[in-house]
């Protein structure tokens, strides 16, 4: 059996990995095969488990782009296979010409204040994965019985969560939101969601389109603590324009007539949390206000000594995601990334030939979906250059051999045809309810859907990639 010029393993099947595969397959100078290794039984990474359920536009990218990559005959999908457990990093580097790690950011930044271990205090990821039916958090149950929730941090994730917590149930019912989340939100007693950030509006972390969407929430008032001031600091014309637009949107949102019967989203700018109160369960958050100090072009924030308290029954820390270390790969703890040069993984300044990274684990947690495309292009260009320079070790296994070996270790490898079965069954369940899909959250249920129809479909031979 001949092994093609380039056999590449990609770890993680989110946008980062899929864009990398797309660039590899587009290369006309080399015959390429790509095998995806995915921990979950489902592909698409954060498009499925991160993008908010009411952002159906953004989710179109799976049908309109990523699906074409995954179903390419040169691609194999190995879902429900955990690198580090079912297969080791060192094995992948031996089996393939090269491995691209695109496993994203598995960790998050804590707020870093006393009381974070209280019940009712969660990481933003927990809640996001709960409403997006991620198998890791399918069994979580959130207490939404207190009238106030506080989100610490004001990036796009914070705004997504605030929107989901206050949105009209009738709107959410038409999305692919997880059923337990829908049930919990239907019974929710939350009337007010506070979004707290230590800096002022000019340096808020959210993007304008996300802020603008607050204006489309029926029955929700938007307010901001303290004065909303026009931006003054930014000298870069593009960033200054964005800040100006942010200010105009905020002015428009907060000057609308309010109704006491409405739910509230409150932006608390210039506030730093200092502690969480409660006996066992969280009851409130202590914070101090900050004052903006400008010295020339340097901006600092001076903390007040007065501690104020907000009662709350749910506190979500949305202070940013960060990469987690993976056994067998170097890791830069401070930045939460794998050290690399242009996507080539380096260790103590020595290159590790054949090992690459792309996406958040390469550059840190920033940018939007398409940012991963440029990022992947750079990584794939490095890889192709290394191949042409003769730096890559030959692959030792064919695609069939890898598949056969994996099957001996894990009986339930979700291949593309099996993912198709999951996809079909979710979409069918949604059709009856006027929803895009009803997501399966439990790993068992996903695997059942993945394999049940295949037993009847005699057209597809066991182990064969088909759809």
């Amino acid at each position: 059996m001949t092994i093609p010029a380039l056999r590449i393993a990609i770890v993680g099947s989110g946008p980062a990995g899929l864009y990398a595969a797309g660039h590899l397959l587009d290369n006309r100078d080399h015959s390429v095969e790509v095998d995806f290794f995915e921990r979950l039984p489902t592909p698409w990474g954060l498009v499925r488990t991160g993008v908010a359920p009411d952002h159906d536009d953004k989710k179109k990218i799976t049908d309109r782009l990523f699906d074409f990559t995954l179903r390419d005959p040169r691609v194999q999908f190995f879902g429900n296979v955990t690198v580090g457990k079912d297969v080791q990093v060192v094995e992948l580097t031996q089996w393939y010409h090269a491995v691209i790690f695109a496993h994203g950011a598995g960790d998050h930044n804590a707020i870093g204040i006393p009381g974070e271990d209280l019940e009712g205090v969660w990481g933003a990821r927990d809640f996001v994965q709960f409403y997006n039916a991620h198998p890791d958090q399918a069994d979580l149950r959130f207490d939404l019985s207190h009238p106030r929730a506080i989100i610490v941090g004001n990036g796009n994730v914070a705004l997504d969560i605030a929107r989901i917590l206050t949105a009209d149930i009738a709107v959410l019912e038409k999305t692919d939101i997880a059923q337990p989340a829908l049930d919990a939100l239907r019974a929710s007693k939350i009337r007010e969601v506070v979004i707290m950030g230590r800096r002022d509006l000019e340096f808020a972390a959210f993007n304008n389109p996300e802020l603008e969407e607050f204006g489309h929430l029926d029955g929700v008032d938007i307010s901001a603590s303290g004065a909303i001031e026009p931006p003054v600091s930014e000298s870069d014309p593009v960033l200054a324009w964005r800040a100006r637009r942010r200010y105009e949107i905020m002015e428009r949102l907060t000057s609308r007539p309010r109704l006491t019967s409405n739910r509230q989203i409150v932006f608390q700018f210039l506030a730093t949390p200092v502690g969480l109160r409660g006996a066992g369960r969280v009851e409130g958050l202590d914070y101090v206000r900050n004052r903006v100090m400008r010295t020339g072009s340097t901006i600092t924030y001076e903390r007040s000594s007065t501690v104020e308290t907000l009662d709350a029954g749910l506190v979500l820390s949305a202070c940013g995601y960060r990469g987690a270390a993976l056994k067998g790969l170097p890791f830069e703890e401070a930045a939460g990334i794998v050290p690399n040069k242009g996507g080539r993984v380096i260790d103590a300044d020595a290159d590790l030939p054949g090992t690459y990274v792309t996406g958040w684990i390469k550059r840190g947690c920033r940018g939007i979906i398409g940012s991963n495309r440029r990022c992947a292009h750079e990584t794939v260009s490095s890889l192709i250059a290394d191949q042409e320079a003769g730096l890559l070790q030959p692959a030792t296994m064919t695609g069939k051999q890898v598949r056969a070996l994996l099957t001996t270790r894990n009986k339930r490898i979700v291949q593309f045809c099996n993912w198709r079965s999951i996809d079909r069954s979710e979409r069918q369940a949604g059709q009856a309810l006027g929803r895009p899909r009803v997501k399966l959250a439990q790993t068992d249920a996903l695997l059942e859907a993945a394999f049940a129809p295949q037993r009847q479909a005699s057209a597809i031979k066991p182990g064969e990639v088909g759809w």
């Binding site: 179109k60 304008n208 389109p209 014309p237 593009v238 324009w241 939007i368």
Partner: protein, 87 residues
């Protein structure tokens, strides 16, 4: 009439690559790419061919006259971007 990029844009720059008249910015090599929240179509350069519409993976592009009500103002936002970078 021109095409307009609205809120769903994820900055996948397939549109930049396919545009026959280079009306869409910023591209991945432009310094602004890191600093924008979306991509924009220059209304005076656009020839209304619709090539971008087909390649957009999130259907973020609309003909100006067909913009959904909630995104009407994106026609002005697209134009403004080119005024800002010309500064």
């Amino acid at each position: 009439m021109t095409y307009v990029i609205a809120a769903p844009c994820v900055a996948d720059y397939s549109c930049v690559e396919i545009c026959p008249v280079a009306a869409i910015s910023p591209g991945p090599e432009d310094p602004e790419f890191e600093r924008v929240e979306q991509l924009f179509i220059h209304p005076d350069v656009c020839i209304d061919c619709g090539a971008c519409l087909d390649v957009c993976p999130v259907s973020a592009i609309f003909q100006e006259g067909s913009l959904p009500a909630k995104w009407q103002h994106y026609a002005a936002i697209n134009r403004q971007y080119f005024e800002v970078i010309a500064l």
